[in-house]
């Protein structure tokens, strides 16, 4: 009898041990922490959405490789395409928060979409972290508490940066401006008018062009005949290329500075050697000597997306901004100690130092300043043989 009961005890013990390990394993498979990207993934700006997605993914892979957040919860990325359409952005923002449970939402290139989604984030109490769209009103919106954060440029600041460069560094007094006939162009016309005015210069003209315009000679002739001694350009890659080619055609050599739209496409390929005559703004350059973080990101992009080198990182600012934005959100989640939008928002405002890709953020955000990057973080760059290299402005 006794001999017969012994195996029964062993079986029982084994079963208990198995059950214990199984439930331990089970409790370890904690629910993921969801974050979302609502950006243009299709259409003319699809490249920017892809670039942002890559930056976020590389950062998330790093975080998950370290064991995730909040004691072992993996970070999961949900992506929605807003197609550059503000009302689709609003629907998508609600969807990712209410149905997918996203605790932070990253934004894409289009400012009108970011502005339209603003009330949703305040209503649902989930922070938005912009990675591209530069409209001033996204972060400076007068709300308290303010749920809008940004790791990107800001049109108003970029316009000041460009105006200062033209007046103080280049010593020019009569800039001519050529910009695209869109709300983005209009917001920069406002900013440039303001900052050139404050610096005591009067632009000789603001010329406009439409998307897909083939020849910009007429606009440039008007600026040249108006006496412009510098050219400021607000354009995306295809039209920016036409501006520069038309400028060369009419034989006008004039210093040309540009907003960063031209870096969202193949400007260097479209203009060849002429690309070297343009300086423009970036938040980060993957060319040249890289920090440890830069080298790590490039290596990750190589293995994950099969790029050959930094020249394949299209729309680089999207990737760089998104990478830092994701890590900042991760730090805030840890600091908040919970996957909860409102607490993450509070934590973002009190984050300490973070050694990021773009820079070392001493204090990324404060209650007053929701833009993590400022004028000091902008760099002026140009192309040399198809590669983006920083220019010294000192």
């Amino acid at each position: 009898m006794r001999r017969a009961r012994f195996p029964g005890v062993v079986v029982l013990l084994l079963a208990v041990v198995l059950l214990l390990t199984a439930t331990r394993g089970w409790t370890q498979a904690k629910p993921p922490v969801s974050v979302a990207l609502v950006a243009a993934m299709s259409g003319g700006s699809a490249l920017s959405g892809e670039a942002i997605k890559r930056g976020l993914t590389v950062a998330i892979d790093e975080i998950n490789a370290r064991g995730g957040l909040l004691g072992g919860r993996k970070v999961e990325l949900v992506i929605r395409d807003e197609e550059g359409n503000p009302s689709k952005g609003v629907t998508a923002a609600r969807d990712v928060i209410e149905r997918e449970g996203a605790v932070a939402v990253f934004g894409g290139l289009h400012s009108p979409v970011g502005l339209a989604m603003l009330p949703v984030f305040h209503e649902l109490k989930v922070p938005y972290v912009g990675t591209w769209a530069a409209a001033t009103g996204i972060t400076r919106n007068g709300r308290n508490p303010n749920f809008m954060f940004r790791v990107s440029a800001n049109d108003d600041v970029v316009d000041h940066f460009l105006a200062k460069h033209v007046i103080e560094k280049l010593g020019r007094q009569k800039p001519g401006v050529i910009l695209e006939n869109t709300p983005w162009g209009a917001s920069n016309q406002e900013g440039l008018t303001k900052w050139f005015g404050k610096l005591g210069a009067q632009p000789v003209g603001f010329e406009k062009f439409n998307w897909n315009d083939p020849d910009m000679s007429a606009q440039l002739l008007r600026l040249r005949n108006g006496g412009a001694d510098a050219l400021v350009m607000v354009a995306n890659a295809p039209e920016g290329a036409q501006v520069v080619r038309s400028r060369a055609k009419i034989g006008w050599s004039v210093p040309t500075v540009s907003h960063w739209g031209i870096s969202g496409g193949r400007f260097a390929e479209l203009t060849g050697d002429l690309s070297e005559s343009v300086v423009f703004v970036q938040t980060y350059s993957f060319f040249g000597k890289q920090s440890e973080a830069g080298a790590r990101v490039i290596a990750a992009l190589k293995t994950k997306y099969g790029i050959k080198g930094p020249e394949d990182i299209l729309a680089p600012v999207g990737t760089a901004n998104a990478y830092d934005a994701m890590h900042l959100v991760a730090l805030a989640v840890e600091r908040a100690g919970a996957a909860d939008g409102a607490r993450i928002r509070d934590a973002l405002e009190t984050l300490g130092e973070y050694r990021g890709l773009i820079k070392t953020y001493r204090r990324p955000f404060t209650p007053e300043e929701h833009d993590a990057l400022n004028e000091d973080d902008y760099i002026l760059v140009t192309w040399r043989q198809g590669k983006i290299v920083p220019v010294s402005t000192k």
């Binding site: 259409g43 003319g44 699809a46 490249l47 006939n181 010329e207 406009k208 062009f209 439409n210 998307w211 897909n212 315009d213 083939p214 020849d215 000679s217 007429a218 606009q219 002739l221 008007r222 005949n225 890659a237 295809p238 290329a241 036409q242 060369a248 055609k249 009419i250 034989g251 496409g265 193949r266 390929e269 479209l270 203009t271 060849g272 299209l314």
Partner: protein, 289 residues
């Protein structure tokens, strides 16, 4: 400044004319037009890019194969989007051709990508100075080839058997049929020819405009305006109107600003339609009932 503007207008204007001639050819033979002509321009540029830049072919075979592909595209458009509706005397061909154009644009976005690519031409690197204006040699080549081609088409219409068949069909389907001309086939040829002309415009413009899925849309629209201004049944009128439209557009942009360019351009279309519904160079014909 005026010389500079005229050069700019000449290159684009001659291409408007070339594309508009395509509208003329199909309209004359079948009273229909291919509203995806603009997309045919784009397809011409994209296919030439894929062969010449992508696959590294020399330019002669690239151009030949591109034009054969464009002819096939024209035949396809006619077969799928025009013939079924023509038989039913419906004007649904209008929407159907627009739909095909949108499909073409999106297919190219999927296959070719969304960003503009450069089409290298050794003639569009260093500008020449002509009469005090800067101009890329390629910009001079464009109107030259365009006009030569238009003359060639006109000659072919008058001297060759196929050309005469086209003109006969344009005159009267019934009479042509009685003379043993295959009207359906002739319309198909007209569509092929019209697509080929658009394709040539695409190849010629590629180095100046860059290659992208949306490069043809505006050109197609403006070429249609040109066809209306010149008189859609008058080939010569279209050639003149196209070149004039390009130059006026450029001069207006230069002196009055780009903001008013499209306003004046399209206001012209309305004015011409009001004053001479048959176009500047067209002949008022009593409507055949």
């Amino acid at each position: 400044m005026i010389v500079q503007l005229v050069f700019g207008g000449l290159a684009l204007g001659s291409m408007y004319a070339l594309v508009a001639l395509g509208y003329n050819i199909t309209y004359a033979t079948s009273q229909t037009v291919n509203f995806s002509q603009g997309q045919s321009v784009m397809v011409g540029a994209v296919v030439a890019y894929a062969l010449h830049v992508g696959a590294g072919w020399p330019w002669v075979p690239s151009v030949v194969v591109t034009l054969i592909a464009l002819a096939a595209l024209g035949v396809l458009v006619e077969r799928v989007a025009v013939r079924p509706f023509l038989r039913a005397s419906s004007i649904a061909w209008l929407l159907a051709t627009i739909a095909l154009g949108i499909i073409a644009e999106n297919v190219v976005m999927l296959v070719f990508g969304k960003d503009a690519r450069a089409f290298p031409s050794s003639l569009a690197v260093t500008p020449w100075t002509v009469l005090g204006a800067g101009v890329y040699p390629h910009e001079l080549l464009v109107p030259l080839v365009g006009i030569a081609l238009m003359v060639l088409v006109e000659l072919a219409f008058r001297r060759t058997l196929a050309g005469r068949a086209l003109r006969a069909v344009a005159w009267s389907h019934d009479a042509a049929r009685l003379m043993g001309i295959d009207v359906t086939r002739t319309i198909s040829v007209a569509y092929a020819l019209s697509s080929v002309l658009a394709g040539v415009a695409g190849i010629l413009l590629a180095p100046l405009l860059n290659v992208s899925a949306t490069m043809g849309t505006t050109i197609g629209l403006k070429a249609f305006a040109v066809a209306i201004i010149g008189g859609i049944e008058s080939a010569r009128g279209i050639v003149v109107a196209g070149i004039l439209y390009g130059i006026v557009e450029s001069v207006v942009a230069g002196y009055l600003g780009t903001g008013v360019r499209e306003i004046i351009g399209f206001a012209l279309v309305v004015l011409v339609l009001l004053a001479r519904p048959w176009g500047l160079f067209g002949v008022p014909t009593p409507r055949r009932v």
